[in-house]
Symmetry: C2
Subunit: 432 residues, 2 copies
């Protein structure tokens, strides 16, 4: 049953993802019409340099994005990225009652509330499955499938570039700089890799995931962030010795403080996870998110986290949803921020550390080091000491403590006279 209505779509931007969206809209138009109940028409594509887009019909291209958004369209797909001009254009669209499908994680993580509010006031929809983990159905499961459950924790590998670099370091023993250069040569890292390697990309995604999972407004500024630039070959080797793998994780937790109050912790940092954890074998450009919920238990969603076609798949799934809502009436989920939990600072978050020390191989060293841990109320889970020609290596994995206490402990230990070097310090995650 196809209605007389035609769904007219404007697209802002036409890079790798936009080109795939335009192709799929053309090639699958019959299927899309059957699934939506109305044909979809691509009304125009706003780009900066029309002569650079040979893969899409020239008559669709325009440089006037504002006029395209204001024209007679039902849906605006945004694949430009960045805050402006995307923000202004999408607010114009939403205020005019046009539904929006966007892949823009930075915009969502920074200005999500503003976009939701505009959608809500005009009755339009905003969908953004493509903003996190490409083709993996992730935001819809969080917003809808798990809407009757209580999510307690998410651990995700949500950045393909850093996952590729860490996988390569692990496979070849290369250092960070070498692995980054190689990733650049292979096209896995951008010319300016800052957003990826410093964790900004993963932090924006963590903010979006935490917001949806915990019904709380979380912005990128609330997310603790450490990138992978400080990860060394020694860290990777140290992880291997204890049966672990180094991954850049985005972790979102609903925690209960010492006083019983609830809070959200969102953090992005490298961590050592057990080799038999389902996330440990997520290699290269794949993404995966591990979810723990009260009733559902453990879930994992796995797939391609980036790339033109996978991201376009997510964009088109959202397009079908907003178009169906246009035909059937009703609208998709609104912002859900009723829980309004505070963000807990990283220092108060509870973590575990792995610490590998080069120490003088003589009696009493372990006692001195252990005393520092005790002094900071940090309990030691395992310790392994190996002597080697007068030097010794001391590898400690702690029990849970506040991140603050763990950091202070490491600082104090590093200053002990018998500690020659701190070879590796990294958080450990993913234990049952």
């Amino acid at each position: 049953m196809t209605s007389a209505k035609v769904i007219r779509v404007a697209m802002l931007g036409c890079g790798v993802v936009g080109t795939e969206v335009a192709r799929l809209l053309r090639e699958q138009s019959d299927d899309l019409a059957a699934r939506i109940g109305a044909p979809v028409e691509l009304a125009g594509i706003a780009v900066r340099r029309p002569n650079r887009h040979r893969a899409v019909p020239a008559e669709l291209l325009t440089t006037d994005s504002a006029a395209l958004v204001e024209s007679d369209v039902d849906v605006v797909i945004e694949v430009i990225g960045g805050i402006e001009p995307a923000r202004g254009l999408l607010l114009t669209a939403l205020n005019a009652g046009k539904s929006v499908v966007t892949a823009n994680k930075a915009l969502l993580a920074e200005c999500g509330h503003e976009l939701y509010a505009a959608a809500d006031s005009s009755g339009a929809d905003i969908y953004f499955e493509a903003a996190v983990a490409g083709a993996i159905p992730l935001l819809r499961p969080l917003r809808e499938s798990l809407a009757g459950d209580r999510i307690t924790k998410l651990i995700g590998i949500v950045n393909g570039t850093t996952n590729h670099i860490l996988s390569a370091m692990s496979a070849t023993g290369a250092g960070y700089t070498e692995a980054l250069e190689e990733a650049g040569r292979l096209g896995y890292a951008e010319a300016d890799p800052t957003a990826d390697v410093d964790g900004f990309d993963a932090a924006a995604k963590a903010a979006i995931l935490a917001s949806l999972a915990f019904h709380t407004r979380v912005t990128a500024a609330d997310v603790y962030r450490e990138g992978i630039a400080a990860v060394t070959a020694a860290d990777i080797a140290a992880a291997r010795v204890i049966g672990r793998t180094v991954k850049l994780l985005a972790i979102c937790e609903r925690v209960t403080g010492a006083d019983g109050s609830r809070a959200v912790v969102a953090r992005v940092h490298p961590a050592m996870i057990p080799d038999d954890h389902p996330l440990a074998s997520v290699g290269g450009a794949f993404n995966a998110v591990f979810v723990e919920a009260d009733a559902a238990g453990q879930l994992m969603l796995y797939g391609q986290g980036a790339g033109g076609a996978p991201t376009a798949s997510a964009v088109l799934g959202d397009l079908v949803a907003v178009a169906r809502n246009r035909i059937a009436g009703g609208h998709g989920p609104r912002e859900s921020a009723y829980a309004n939990l505070p963000a807990m600072p990283m220092g108060q978050a509870v973590t575990r550390y792995h610490i590998s020390l080069d120490v003088a191989d003589r009696a009493g060293v372990l006692a001195k080091v252990a005393a520092v841990f005790a002094e900071h109320d940090v309990s030691i889970a395992t310790v392994r000491q190996e002597g080697l020609d007068g030097d010794a290596s001391l590898v400690i994995v702690t029990h849970e403590a506040t991140d603050e206490a763990l950091r202070s402990t490491v600082d104090k230990v590093a200053g002990l006279p018998m500690v020659r070097d701190v070879a590796s310090v990294m958080r450990v995650e993913g234990d049952p």
Copy 2:
């Protein structure tokens, strides 16, 4: 923002899942109200023997399910299972414009169309995430997230009982009967395990998955079905030798026939999959579904496939969805069967076989066996022969051929005079 409307819910059945649904509705009522925008009230629970349900408030219990469905409720949750009386009660509800949330795979696989039609004619919703793979967000991703993509193949481990038995056989070397008895003692298998071990449960789920993935009406009768009763310790050992694991798989494919026509193959049978396939490590009561789509590439969705709380999580997610639709207007996805592809008989489906033969260890045996394969146009991928005291074992893995040709080949080979025994025959799946 909470509307004045109260969403009144009737529940049919109160077994393991229903008890958890009732508990979560009570414990999470504030969260559910905030997420839906209206409070949810459990109006009544229809059961056969009210005195057996101590965990739910006695005043909610009734034996008159028909009267409960006809009372002033907005949503009917069905967790009875089986065809009747569930079918009649849900048709009454849907025809009266009441939305339905059901966990009933058998009913969906057999009478899905009838339920959809009733929902469509009255404007009500029917949601059934809990019917397949418990808490794993699976049907919503297929129906919605991937609605703009073309799914080509699904491979799922969707039955926890058989997965537990096969995992146990693999771990302990036990035979099927012994492992089944042990599963029964541990509560992983029902007193009458037929529905699980003979593949009926998985076949119903395969029908539902194929229907959604391929926009085609597929019923349980269209699904080729082999259970695990014929799986032997020798099969498991033979799989191990070639780096594979035996799993009961539900496989749904969109295939192109020799004449270019499209069709759907849905099949449930044990198969050997490579040890490094993501499904190989899905153990015990966990379920997982591996999805391949044109644009999205490979996805995997993993989690607990059964149990009270996980299944209740899926039921409540659907409840939030239908309740939101009641508040916001609009409705969820309708039946999508426009593609209307024919079901391809198993004989014409393309598969690969592993065959392990005990043969006389003398010259010319391999030539004779290979001639039978050639005669049936079945190409051999790998062959391994090992002599042992006058006997030899011949292990063959084929390339792809029609299932019919592969079966005929095995039958003919089994009749050769130098073949003493067919030690193991099983399909192989999951290769790149």
